[in-house]
């Protein structure tokens, strides 16, 4: 297995807004191998969710892919039509949404909403087989199978999230994108759910992309971590490298604001200033207005996203704060 499951190359996605073009994802490249877990971390509004939606081409009508490739199982899906995308969605890549409460339609039984996906992707299954499949999925995620005939509002937050995960697993996808899968839950549920998700992943041999603003969550589940800032990837490396040997000053700041007790929700408090306005992003390195090491070159030229050691990439003129 040399070929990666997902390869994103120079992906740039824009929103057309009243006030102008907003570059939500700018020149992002990464790849994901089978069975691997990639974490994407960054402040809210840095483009994490936009990356997820772009990979599934689920953009709102004012969003479009400006350039780049999204290669899924060897095929570039950027030119795909909606019709062709339907097979990719859920069949190859499925998604666990941020707010599970809202991702389930309140007027249908939870089981039926999973069956709906099965009907679409596995039309050869009979009604009975589908029910059987839902039962299995529910057991897998730790829900009683009788709950499949209940409505979403009868579920607790944690149960809903499990149901959404069961739904994401239903069509046997190669990878799942989990967008803030546990943010709405309380810490204890969050922790056990993350552990279970990691277990399904190993068990089913799937690849995962975890997206969170919470460094603790990312630390717990990811093999590799990408740090995003203002629509760009600032740094990418193994979890070990990112947490213990950060190169980019933004990652360094992010890690210093990450408390040693895992799992607690934190805000990024140590950085001065605010995330930039993506309608009018800073020139050069987008982080320079807040960077303690910024020099003239940072203001003028965009640093290349390059390899500093095998597999450890960063986009910075002053890696680790060195003034060359």
């Amino acid at each position: 297995m040399t070929e990666p499951l997902l390869q994103v190359e120079n992906l740039t996605m824009h929103y057309t807004t009243r006030a102008g073009e907003l570059s939500a994802v700018d020149n992002v490249s990464f790849s994901l191998k089978k069975g691997e877990a990639l974490g994407l971390v960054g402040e809210s509004g840095c483009g994490k969710t936009s990356v997820a939606l772009t990979v599934l081409k689920l953009l709102p009508e004012n969003g479009y892919i400006k350039e780049g490739k999204i290669i899924v199982n060897g095929k570039d899906i950027v030119p795909y039509t909606e019709q062709e995308m339907r097979k990719v969605r859920w069949g190859e890549i499925s998604m666990v949404f941020q707010a599970a409460m809202n991702a389930l339609n309140p007027v249908y039984r939870v089981g039926d909403q999973i069956i709906e996906a099965l009907e679409e992707h596995q039309p050869q299954m009979t009604n009975k087989e589908m029910k059987q499949k839902v039962t299995e999925l529910f057991e897998l995620v730790g829900l009683e199978s009788a709950l499949m005939d209940r409505f979403p509002h009868e579920f607790s937050g944690g149960m809903r999230q499990r149901a959404v995960i069961a739904m994401a697993l239903s069509c046997g996808p190669d990878m799942i994108i989990a967008d803030e899968p546990t943010t709405a839950l309380d810490v204890i549920v969050q922790d056990s759910l993350l552990k279970e998700m990691r277990e399904f992943q190993d068990q089913l041999g799937m690849a995962m992309i975890y997206i969170s603003h919470d460094v603790g969550v990312i630390a717990e589940v990811s093999d590799r971590v990408g740090v995003m800032y203002a629509g760009r990837l600032a740094e990418m490396g193994t979890a070990e490298e990112i947490f213990h040997d950060p190169i980019h000053p933004y990652t360094m700041a992010l890690m210093s604001s990450f408390p040693s007790t895992v799992g607690e929700k934190t805000d990024l408090v140590l950085l001065p200033g605010e995330p930039p306005d993506l309608l009018n992003p800073p020139t050069g390195c987008r982080f320079h207005p807040r960077c303690p090491y910024a020099t003239d070159v940072c203001k003028e030229e965009q640093p290349e996203f390059k390899e500093h050691s095998p597999g450890h990439l960063a986009a910075c003129w002053h890696p680790r704060g060195e003034q060359s």
Binding site: Y15, T16, R18, N62, P272, G273
Partner: protein, 318 residues
């Protein structure tokens, strides 16, 4: 935190609070006006209203200059040079005359002002009552809320036009009375329910809590913090009230139930009264007034929708 340099002028002349407030609301107004101007739906409505305003203003000027009141008075005028009335449109009577020999255009323009007045009074009464009750009911909850909301249910349940018909046959109802009745029905009925549900969402915001902790009295919180946040929605419902007021007046006048001198609805009643209602050859007896009623109602409704798309983020495109 970025360092702020305190200059001399800041210390010498601090802006007074109301001035800041004024500037903020002016900015908000400009922003919303720009948003409104982008929406053709609202703009069309606004343009129609402007045309009607011009008509309302033009009538007294015309009657004092070019139109001889003996001939052109909307209620008592008659053109005796024409042997038979109703007469079709002609250079002297651009929209013809009605069965009593009165000029249709003059009637049409004369009525515009009172339609505006009717709409304005009804809308103001509705919104004053609905906003106050909505804010108070949402703020206090409990028994006050229950009483007003049950009462609102009762009002909402009652068919509007039917009730107005009954009222106008039992009592003498003129333009002002009608405006107030419509205002009361709206103010205690559907508009209150909508504004109250909005007030509930305002009530739980943190700045209300902050104001309470800072020791703000109930009245101060309601009038300074809750009500200002309800005003956009109130303004929206003012537009819808104008529509329903003008429509109701037209219907009641059409049935000849109102005690008024002239209005668009009354013009059609006159047509019906003189037996020309189904005489479509004499279109000028029905069309001008009907088109005016429809256009005015539509105009305020369109403006309302335009405003709705600004204040209701869920309808916004992006």
């Amino acid at each position: 935190m970025a360092e702020t340099t305190i200059t001399g002028s800041d210390l010498v002349k601090p802006d007074s609070l109301w001035r800041i407030r004024l500037r903020l609301s002016w900015q908000a107004f400009k922003k919303n006006a720009a948003l409104f101007a982008e929406n053709p739906v609202g703009l069309i409505g606004f343009a129609i209203i402007l045309i009607f305003m011009l008509m309302a203003v033009a009538h007294p000027i015309l009657i004092n200059t070019v139109w001889d009141p003996v001939i052109y008075d909307p209620v008592t005028g008659i053109d005796i040079t024409i042997p038979f009335h109703p007469s079709p449109p002609s250079p002297t009577h651009l929209l013809g005359t009605d069965s009593f020999g009165r000029d249709v255009l003059s009637q049409l323009m004369f009525s515009t002002a009172s339609e505006f007045a009717l709409g304005a009074v009804a809308a103001i009464v509705t919104v004053l009552i609905a906003t106050t009750i909505g804010a108070v009911a949402a703020y206090y909850g409990g028994i006050i809320d229950t009483i007003f909301m049950r009462f609102a249910d009762l009002v909402v349940m009652t068919p509007f036009v039917t009730l107005l018909i009954v009222l106008s046959t039992l009592f003498e109802v003129g333009m002002i009375e009608l405006a107030i009745i419509i205002g009361l029905l709206g103010g205690f009925g559907s508009t209150t329910i909508i504004i109250k549900s909005q007030a509930l969402t305002v009530k739980v915001r943190t700045y209300i809590e902050a104001a309470r902790i800072a020791g703000g009295g109930d009245a101060r919180i309601i009038f300074r913090h809750i009500i200002p946040n309800l005003l956009p929605l109130s303004f929206l419902y003012m537009m819808f009230t104008v529509t329903s007021a003008i429509f109701s007046e037209a219907v009641l006048s059409f049935f000849g139930l109102l005690n008024i001198r002239m209005s668009w609805g009354l013009m059609i009643f006159t047509t019906q009264f003189s037996g020309y209602l189904l005489d479509f050859e004499k279109w000028w007896l029905i069309y001008p007034a009907s088109v005016a009623i429809t256009a005015m109602c539509a105009a305020f409704y369109l403006v309302g929708r335009g405003i709705d798309e600004i204040i209701n983020p869920r309808l916004r495109r992006r």
